[in-house]
Amino acid sequence: MKEEELIEKLKAEIIEQLSLEDITPADIDADAPLFVEGLGLDSIDAIELTHLLDRNYGIKLEDPKARREVLASVRSMAQLIAKQGK
């Protein structure tokens, strides 16, 4: 899957996982920070997104530093999935 396709798929999954009812994939900037700014997500959302990566792509993010880097934006998540995802 191309990175842009993966990004669109991931946006839809994020919206569902985090119950972002009023947000459409088009509202999410793939390069914008997901946390605090951008979508304004918090530490509980980080846990939800970690579960999403584990369940849908078999990626485990246990190290907090690695987690922060990967969950920085939709693009950084997509790049990791392209590299490691099952």
Partner: protein, 396 residues
């Protein structure tokens, strides 16, 4: 006119003992109750927990009951603690007019969580369990055994529940609504809370290490503690073990589960409680901290303590959750009992499992048992939803 509120009895069951005496001797010897679970059935048994060392049969016998299938462990723990408190206070004849304010977060889930789906499918053989799911079940059953009639209620504010039960009972007496109140909390260890803390990624793989740089989370546990509170003017010449001299309940209004890194919510209740007691921070001799062993709580609480007292003037402090784990709703009452033990024996209990100081803090918990003059103790309890409460328990 406000009346003073005295403690005339207390009872406790925790992971370090099934009565006041055994809890005290474990606190003195530094023996932790954290270890492998024996009673709760969970697949997460690679984690350590802290259970009350008694089976339901043993608890029922201790409470003088025949164990029934609808008796939850939560109820049995609460009744045993309440009976010990009443015995100590010697106020059996006052029970019908005594207020009863209990608290729990899991209610009778120890009975119902494993057959929940069958209950929903209306399995008629489970009819006897319906009541036990309710938050009031344990308190109502306690009242049935003990005889309380009016002002029987339950508070549920997550991990500060029983601190709030103590606050409510104290206010009932000081405002003149009641002369006496039996107050406290109880929770049994259930898969629901174990898995909840696992979902939040704050379950400790090694056992709770409050205020340690390498702390890695909470050790879920269980327990119960109840206090008999009485108005100064009805105590007569019976023995008084302490006074609920100050208290504060406030909401941090910050986040559903997290405390703010600077601990504004904690600082607010600590300062208000000291003020309500009519004391100066310098008059607090010991702080029994909430200290759960999570990254977030201990940093936030530690900073609040530094702000409230100043690093130089910080009184001795410890979290006793290295002994007991975190008994959720019961924590505030369990730690109120430890505070009373500190006052009555003039001793400060160590913060066991502590090795490395936290980088962010300049204050250090007490790590050895210390003999000391103790007049006033501050006890903190913080819960989900920014539910912060502090108590000041004083020598009379």
């Amino acid at each position: 006119m406000r009346r003073r509120v005295f403690v005339t009895g207390f009872g406790i069951l925790s992971a370090i003992g099934c009565d006041v005496e055994s809890n005290y001797s474990s606190l003195l010897s530094g023996r932790s109750g954290i270890g492998q679970a024996k009673f709760v059935k969970t697949l997460l048994d690679r984690y350590p927990f802290a259970e009350v060392p008694a089976s339901n049969e043993e608890l029922a016998a201790k409470a003088g009951l025949r164990l029934e299938p609808f008796h939850s462990r939560t109820f049995l723990l609460g009744l045993c603690a309440a009976k010990e408190a009443i015995r100590m206070a010697g106020c059996e004849d006052q029970l019908p007019s005594m207020a009863l304010v209990g608290s729990t977060t899991v209610a009778g889930m120890d009975l119902t969580e494993s057959c929940y789906v069958r209950m929903v499918e209306e399995d008629p053989t489970l009819k006897y369990l319906v009541d036990s799911m309710d938050c009031s079940d344990a308190v109502n059953r306690m009242a049935s055994v003990l005889g309380n009639r009016n002002m029987v209620s339950s508070v549920s504010t997550a991990c500060s529940s029983s601190a709030n039960a103590i606050i409510v009972g104290t206010r009932m007496i000081s405002s003149g609504l009641a002369d006496r109140a039996l107050v406290g909390g109880m929770d049994s260890l259930v898969r629901f809370s174990i898995n909840g803390f696992n979902a939040l990624e704050i379950l400790s793989p090694t056992g709770s290490q409050p205020f340690d740089q390498n702390r890695d989370g909470v050790t879920p546990s269980e327990g119960a503690a109840f206090l008999v509170l009485e108005a100064e003017d009805v105590v007569g010449n019976r023995r008084v073990y302490g006074e609920i001299k100050g208290f504060a309940n406030a909401n941090a209004a910050f986040h559903q589960t997290a405390s703010s890194p600077n601990g504004e919510g904690a600082l607010a209740v600590i300062s208000k409680a000291i003020e309500k007691a009519g004391l100066q921070p310098s008059e607090i001799d010991y702080v029994n901290a909430h200290g759960t062993g999570t990254k977030n709580n201990d940093l936030s609480e530690g900073r609040a303590l530094e702000a409230a007292f100043g690093v130089e003037a910080m009184p001795l402090f410890s979290s006793t959750k290295g002994y007991t784990g975190h008994p959720f709703a019961a924590a505030g009452a369990v730690e109120a009992v430890f505070s009373l033990l500190a006052i009555n024996n003039q001793v400060v209990f160590p913060n066991i499992n502590f090795k490395t100081p936290m980088e962010e803090l300049s204050i250090r918990p007490v790590t050895t048992l210390q003999k000391k003059e103790i007049r006033n103790v501050l006890s903190n309890s913080f819960g989900f939803g920014g539910a912060d409460s502090s108590l000041i328990i004083s020598k009379v």
